[in-house]
């Protein structure tokens, strides 16, 4: 009954060029979507970059390490101790005893101040060190290794405010060379002395003339006091000049202490209790900054040079020159000369050294024993441990693993951890570390005992150590276990329940004929869809009310007798898992429904047409076909659950816990809570480990997702 319809007068379609344009125009419509897609892609990539940038930025970078105890001083103390306790060593505070011991004994060796050697040139021979013979020139230039400069420090403001100090410094510089040899040090060259005088004039400024007048007549500034502390090496020199200053008429207070150079600078710069500081080394950056932050610009005055002479008796024929390394051996472990150098006689070494209290011994040790902690042998490291740790602690470490059996690096670590007590005092982000390297180095240089170190906060140790209040020692072991437990149980609960519900809704609910039941099912369906959008905090409140409180006997494990009834409560892994299961249930149900709905009806007909029950058909054909979709939903749900923080905070996850969870009824914490807690700490280092923890969380998520994707792909392949 069909009628031929002519392409006639009722209308027409575009032809020719019109058709081309028409098609072009229609294609342009697709451009909008392509641009949208590109924008979305760019945004996603930017977000990813920002995320990675922020995290990786925090997890890697430089740190400034500060030692509570200077490792060099540990090494020094150990070496000095070895030196003093070696057999064949005579130690005396009285230099005469040393001279007497060495004199006429070809196997003897010793050291003391150069001036003292000078007085005994007839009996003793000073030998070269590293090829440098001791002399005023080699000492002043620093070529002779056993020499050090002597300084006094003051500040312009101090000198102007306290003319007694200004005058004393001037007096010091004018008279030092006339007393210095008597005290036992090398005088400085005229050039250096001129430099010092010029520095004084510059500091004194307009008051220079007035101050110089006081120098000539110190009595006029007697209404001011002078307070000096610092190096014990410079002390005798300053003391000598102070005595003369007083004789010249100064009546004011004169307090002179020997505290050591470092303590002297502290008193001068930080506490500002002194006006002059004696020093046997130049002031360092940190000390200058400490001074400047107190508006004191330190001015340096070189006043002399100290040198040690290594001496043997005039009868000694084999020693002319020693290296520093030979010196070290001679004064510590070696017993005979030939042990150190085969050319030398096989005779016992007899050592004569200044007493432990003298600055001379320290200076010698500092210069000769410049070994690093890392270079020490095992017995030496153990010696350090024994000298610095309590016996109880030592016994504990020995019980963990006998000290003598530990490797050298292990012992070094132990010393660093327990004796040196390394701490991170400042940390920098990756970008800062790369681009502001110079600035960082400066900052670290200003930190006393500060050391720059490259640090990855994400280390194997970070994964396996529990929480700690010290960021360097903190790890995520507990949180990691917590997360794994919580997620495992969550999925174990939510997946079967969710998929079951989806099967009912998709396969059975539609067959229900009873209109009331149908309406109820429809309401349930709507409800599930809405629940997927409920804020997670509400699930937290629900979980708190139901799982933590209402069914506490079950969730605390008390009903099963697995928990200690005095401490158990409902804030356990099982409560968290049930709460999260509720949270992700709608997600799982909706996704599973979608997946089940996508299975073609023909498959169900095929199954049931063969005489299978509905359930057999679902189990054998519908579910396997739906599994890829169900797994996708599960991945989404799992990712959501792993990242959830709020509901778990509400139900009361622990924020500080160091015990691994052992089962569903354990107290717990999870990664996001740990991260949240760390980011809210004031110390910057907690943010670094938070970043490291986020990386772990991301890796965990990606691994779980990847395994689910793999599983899904395997299923899809089997189905096609």
């Amino acid at each position: 009954m069909s009628q031929e319809t002519q392409p006639s007068d009722i209308g027409q379609y575009p032809e020719g060029d019109n058709l081309k344009h028409f098609i072009e125009n229609r294609k342009r419509g697709g451009l909008v979507w392509r641009v949208s897609f590109q924008i979305a892609t760019i945004l996603a990539i930017l977000a990813l970059i920002a995320l990675l940038y922020n995290i990786i930025n925090g997890a890697f970078g430089y740190v400034a390490i500060q030692n509570k105890v200077d490792p060099n001083s540990l090494v020094l103390a150990m070496e000095e101790n070895q030196m003093l306790s070696s057999s064949g060593t005579v130690s005396s505070e009285d230099d005469n005893e040393l001279v007497d011991g060495i004199e006429g004994n070809p196997n003897a060796i010793g050291f003391f101040g150069y001036a003292y050697y000078n007085d005994n040139r007839d009996k003793l021979k000073a030998i070269s060190v590293d090829g440098q013979a001791p002399s005023r020139e080699t000492a002043e230039s620093g070529d002779y290794p056993l020499a050090r400069p002597l300084f006094i420090y003051s500040a312009a403001d101090v000198m102007r405010e306290n003319p007694a100090i200004g005058a004393f410094v001037d007096y010091y510089l004018t008279n030092v060379n006339s007393v210095i040899e008597e005290v036992g040090y090398f005088p400085i060259s005229d050039d250096l002395l001129n430099e010092a005088t010029t520095a004084w004039s510059a500091a004194a400024g307009e008051q220079a003339d007035a101050l110089q007048a006081y120098t000539a007549n110190p009595a006029e500034v007697s209404d001011h006091d002078i307070s000096i502390s610092g190096s014990s090496t410079v002390y005798p020199l300053t003391r000598q000049l102070a005595i003369q200053f007083r004789r010249a008429g100064f009546q004011g207070g004169l307090d002179l202490q020997q505290t050591g150079t470092t303590a002297g600078f502290r008193a001068f710069c930080e506490d500002m209790t002194t006006g002059i500081s004696n020093a046997s080394r130049p002031i360092n950056r940190a000390e200058i900054e400490a001074c400047e932050s107190n508006k004191r610009t330190p001015v340096e005055f070189r006043v002399g040079t100290d040198a040690l002479a290594v001496v043997v008796s005039s009868e000694n024929t084999f020693l002319e020159n020693v290296t520093k390394d030979e010196l070290r051996q001679i004064f510590t472990s070696a017993e005979t000369w030939s042990e150190v150098n085969p050319d030398w006689p096989n005779e016992p070494i007899e050592r004569f050294i200044p007493g432990a209290d003298s600055g001379t011994l320290d200076f010698f040790a500092e210069t000769v024993f410049d070994r690093q902690l890392e270079a020490l042998t095992e017995p030496e490291l153990i010696e350090i441990l024994k000298a610095n740790l309590s016996t109880g602690l030592l016994r504990r470490f020995d019980a963990e693993a006998p000290l003598v059996e530990r490797s050298q690096p292990e012992l070094v670590d132990l010393v660093l951890e327990r004796v040196v007590e390394q701490q991170v005092v400042q940390s920098w982000e990756l970008t800062e570390s790369i681009f502001d390297r110079a600035e960082i180095e400066e900052t670290v240089a200003a930190i006393p005992q500060g050391e720059l170190q490259w640090r990855s906060w994400l280390t194997p140790a970070f994964l396996v150590t529990p929480q700690s209040s010290t960021p360097e020692l903190a790890g995520i072991r507990t949180a990691l276990f917590g997360t794994l437990w919580v997620i495992a149980i969550t999925i174990l609960v939510a997946l079967p329940v969710g998929v079951g519900a989806a099967i009912y809704l998709e396969e059975y609910a539609i067959m229900v004929a009873n209109p009331t039941l149908r309406r109820i099912n429809a309401i349930i369906q709507t409800n599930i869809n809405n629940l997927a959008g409920v804020p997670s905090i509400i699930y937290g409140i629900l979980g708190l009310a139901i799982f933590v409180r209402a069914i506490e006997p079950i969730t605390s494990g008390m009903l099963f007798g697995v928990s200690d009834p005095t401490t158990a409560n409902g804030r356990t892994i099982i409560s968290a898992s049930l709460t999260l299961a509720l949270l992700i249930l709608p997600l799982i149900i909706i996704n599973a429904q979608e997946a089940i709905r996508a299975v073609p009806n023909s498959l169900r007909q095929a199954g049931m047409g063969l005489g299978a029950t509905r359930w057999q058909t679902i189990w054998s054909h519908v579910l396997p076909s739906a599994i890829p979709g169900i797994l996708t939903g599960n991945i989404l749900a799992m990712s959501r659950a792993i990242g959830e923080t709020a509901p778990l905070v509400v139900i009361g996850a622990s924020t500080f816990i160091t015990v691994d969870p052992t089962g569903p009824f354990s107290k717990f914490t999870v990664l996001p809570i740990q991260i949240y807690q760390w980011t809210s700490r004031p110390q910057a280092e907690f943010r670094n480990i938070a970043a490291a923890a986020i990386i772990v969380l991301l890796i965990l998520l990606l691994t779980l997702n990847a395994s689910a994707v793999l599983l899904r792909n395997r299923y899809s392949r089997r189905l096609s």
Partner: protein, 265 residues
């Protein structure tokens, strides 16, 4: 309309439809069908699109139950028992009365499992391999697939898939096989193969086939039922039922004659 399904043979009846009405929700799709299906014969259902052929066919093994709102009134006697009695389990009905669908729908499983699954769930005890081979042979598919039994059934051609579905149906050894346009997606050669197959199978089974292909109905079937939609209430009804030869050469009803001679419209 009580005489439209007059028996025309002395053979036994496989199914006896008595005043069958089919509904989808409140819509009556088919009304007042009376029909006695001859045992071990091929009966063809013909008629224009939408007249209710599939609906009637599905009602024969209660597949209509699977359609939300699907409902059947009247009696369909199978071995003297009404299929729609409350104490009749539709699962058992479908186990006795198999079905082959218009679109081939093999399971996304191996060829072997496609056949074995139905046997397994129906409690088959015995040599499964034998059963699979025998069913595939009966469906004239064995030679083509014997080397790839472990490959997916979805990897076969449309005609092969349809024969696999037939093999799957006969593996459960039903008494009646219902086929809803089994050849509509197939080329003439595959169609002829299926027709040959039906002629072979009808020695042991009762077959009901829905087809739009007049030649097929004329060639392959023993009996033919012609349905047509009643324009007044849009419900399908059985117009004429009889031996195929007689219905095609000498139709009693004017509407049948119009249809088979192509004057229908």
């Amino acid at each position: 309309m009580s005489t439209n399904g007059t028996p025309t043979s002395n053979g036994k009846y496989a199914l006896d439809l008595q005043d069958v009405h089919c509904y989808y929700g409140s819509f009556r799709a088919v009304k007042g069908v009376n029909l006695k299906l001859q045992e071990k014969k091929i009966t063809a259902f013909i008629g224009p699109s939408g007249c209710g052929k599939s609906t009637v066919l599905r009602s024969l093994n209660r597949m209509n139950d699977l359609i939300p709102g699907g409902r059947v009134e009247g009696r369909i006697l199978f071995r003297g028992k009404n299929l729609y009695d409350p104490d009749v389990d539709p699962v058992e009905v479908r186990r006795r009365i198999g079905m082959v669908f218009q679109k081939p729908n093999p399971f996304p499983k191996s060829i072997y499992d496609n056949i074995a699954w139905g046997a397994k769930i129906n409690g088959f005890k015995g040599n499964m391999k034998e059963l699979v081979e025998q069913s595939l042979r009966s469906a004239a598919l064995w030679e083509e697939v014997k080397d790839k039994l472990d490959q997916s059934g979805l990897g076969l051609s449309g005609g092969q898939q349809q024969r696999l579905c037939i093999a799957r149906a006969i593996a459960t050894q039903p008494e009646i096989i219902l086929m809803d346009e089994p050849c509509s997606a197939l080329d003439p050669i595959a169609t002829l193969k299926i027709e040959d197959l039906m002629r072979e199978l009808v020695k042991n089974y009762t077959i009901v086939i829905v087809t739009h292909n007049m030649q097929q109905a004329a060639r392959a079937s023993d009996y033919t039922a012609y349905y047509l939609m009643d324009k007044s209430d849009r419900a399908g009804e059985l117009v004429e039922y009889g031996e195929t030869d007689q219905l095609f050469t000498n139709p009693k009803d004017k509407r049948t004659e119009d249809y088979i001679t192509g004057r229908f419209g």
